[in-house]
């Protein structure tokens, strides 16, 4: 792949009536939504509602039973389309290549596609590791890092791609509150700086409300609400209120 083949504009995503079952387990029951180019779109929803499955469809790792995923109107299942856009995904489980060092993982996209000379790649890798607060860890192996550190390496690996479309699956779930804010800012600035289309799946309400242009709520395989953070707060649907305002009731005082 060369840069010449890359589409100049950032990618808009359209999901049309997506259905997916695993055996008898119907996970997605007709999901439709649209993400505009350059938008920062957050999908929230309870555990097991199919958020990760949805993201894997958007980047073309899973094939829908029925329905379509369109990138600027072209199906993601078409291999040519995947070559036209720089895309990246941060997996919930990080999915670092355990046989490579942290530095090799972060630089993998550039080395495999031979986009830059090695010295330049090393500089980019170190800059991106710095951005996620992991400077100087290039030579460590992924299994020597904590879960949260691995997640941050995965984020650095995705940022190196300079993606036009980037998917984050629970970017802050394993991070302490301070680091979660840092990563949230990083995602926000990435979106503002490069105008990349960003799709985030998260339980983290603080993250969602502080960075999202729009929020979608996925529940039991369907999108039950899409709107701006303010609209989500104002909405009176009990399912949404329950999710947005769930608190641990002060058990102790009783």
């Amino acid at each position: 792949m060369t840069d010449a083949q890359i589409h100049p504009e950032n990618a808009g995503v359209e999901v049309l009536d997506l259905h997916k079952s695993f055996g008898p387990n119907e996970v997605l029951k007709g999901v439709s939504f649209q993400v505009k180019p350059g938008e920062l779109f957050v999908i929230m929803g309870p555990s097991g509602s199919g958020k990760s499955v949805l993201l894997k469809h958007v980047i073309g790792l899973l094939k829908p039973d029925s329905g379509q995923i369109l990138i600027d109107g072209k199906s993601i299942q078409d291999p040519a389309v995947r070559g036209q856009y720089r895309m990246a995904m941060v997996f919930q489980s990080s999915a670092l290549l355990t046989s490579l060092t942290v530095g090799e993982n972060v630089g993998l996209y550039l080395t495999e596609h031979q986009l830059k000379p090695p010295a330049e790649i090393a500089a980019i890798v170190s800059a991106n590791l710095q951005a996620v607060g992991l400077q100087g860890l290039e030579d460590r192996m992924p299994n020597e890092l904590s879960g949260g550190m691995q997640k941050r390496v995965a984020i650095a690996r995705a940022l190196v791609v300079e993606p036009q479309l980037i998917l984050f699956d629970e970017p802050t779930s394993e991070l302490d509150p301070i680091m979660a804010v840092t990563i949230g800012q990083e995602i926000f600035q990435l979106n503002k700086r490069t105008h990349a289309t960003v799709l985030v799946v998260s339980h983290d309400r603080d993250l969602a409300f502080s960075i999202a242009d729009r929020i979608a709520i996925l529940s039991e395989g369907r999108i039950i609400f899409i709107g701006s953070p303010a609209e989500v707060r104002r909405n009176h649907d009990p399912r949404i209120q329950e999710f947005v305002h769930a608190e641990i009731s002060p058990l102790k005082s009783n």
């Binding site: 895309m87 999915a95 996209y109 495999e112």
Partner: protein, 268 residues
């Protein structure tokens, strides 16, 4: 009630297994074709080929020598006394020489490599599949065939014939040692190697090398495919490894028959 139920289940499983087998054979052929088509990208993957070659050599060379020494020895031990009885012990060198280079070295080395290297390949690729590393590659537009399968296939296709080249003379030596030192056989080194030189031609060695090359492709592609289709957690990886090794060995032995017929046919 119970026996009928179990019979029914078995029948159903049998048919399912059959369909699965055809599906797998089809997928393996497709994977092989995809690997061939990515061959022009080999230069970029050269470092990975070297790594794999080093690993194969490191893991197998010592075992190859020990194994070959004993294989040559046991052929001599089994056939020597019978040939001595009939007064034709002078042909021992040629006979062991031929069996070693046309049959034993390629087949036994292929089985050794299936157990030692094929298993490692399917385990490694299988765990990458289970832990979503292959998904991650795909999101970066890195083709797993090019990145994982190609270097392994090239490495095993180079390494197995190389191991056979080691194995053949060591096997000859094993045979010679037994012939010389076993009092019942008592064919000395000179006589043994004289006969071996008279009988064994370069073509016979090439014959064995060709076989081992085909075996290497079979072991490589079966193991990589099994790795790629791994499902489930650690237990799935274990199952994949077992299947890769068993299927490889079965295919080696079946292929061996047909390759031998083919080579006999073109040598006529």
């Amino acid at each position: 009630m119970l026996p009928r139920l179990r019979g029914g289940l078995r029948q159903k499983n049998g048919r399912y297994a059959q369909i699965l087998m055809y599906k797998n054979i089809g997928e393996i052929l497709i994977l092989f074709w995809q690997t061939l088509r990515s061959l022009h990208l080999l230069w970029r993957q050269r470092q990975k080929v070297f790594d794999q070659l080093f690993e194969i050599g490191n893991a197998s060379l010592f075992m190859v020598c020990i194994l070959s020494l004993f294989i040559g020895g046991v052929i001599a031990l089994q056939t020597g006394p019978i040939l001595v009885e009939r007064g034709i012990s002078s042909v021992l060198g040629g006979m062991i020489g031929l069996s070693m280079c046309k049959e034993f070295a390629p087949v036994m080395m292929a089985i050794l490599v299936a157990g030692r290297i094929g298993s490692a390949m399917s385990a490694e690729i299988g765990s990458m599949r289970v832990y979503q590393e292959i998904d991650a590659l795909q999101t970066m537009n890195i083709d797993p065939v090019r990145y994982l399968v190609l270097p392994r296939m090239v490495a095993i296709a180079l390494a197995l014939p190389a191991l056979v080249i080691f194995s053949i003379p060591v096997g000859w030596l094993g045979g010679a040692l037994v012939c010389d030192f076993n009092r019942k056989i008592a064919v000395n080194f000179d006589l043994y190697f004289q006969n071996l030189r008279d009988v064994v031609e370069v073509g016979d060695v090439c014959n064995g090398l060709f076989k081992s090359f085909v075996f290497a492709l079979a072991v490589g592609i079966i193991s990589c495919h099994q790795g790629l289709i791994t499902r489930g957690g650690p237990r799935g990886i274990g199952r994949s490894v077992t299947k890769a090794v068993v299927n490889s060995i079965v295919v080696i032995l079946i292929l061996d028959y047909f390759l031998t017929r083919f080579l006999l046919y073109i040598h006529r």
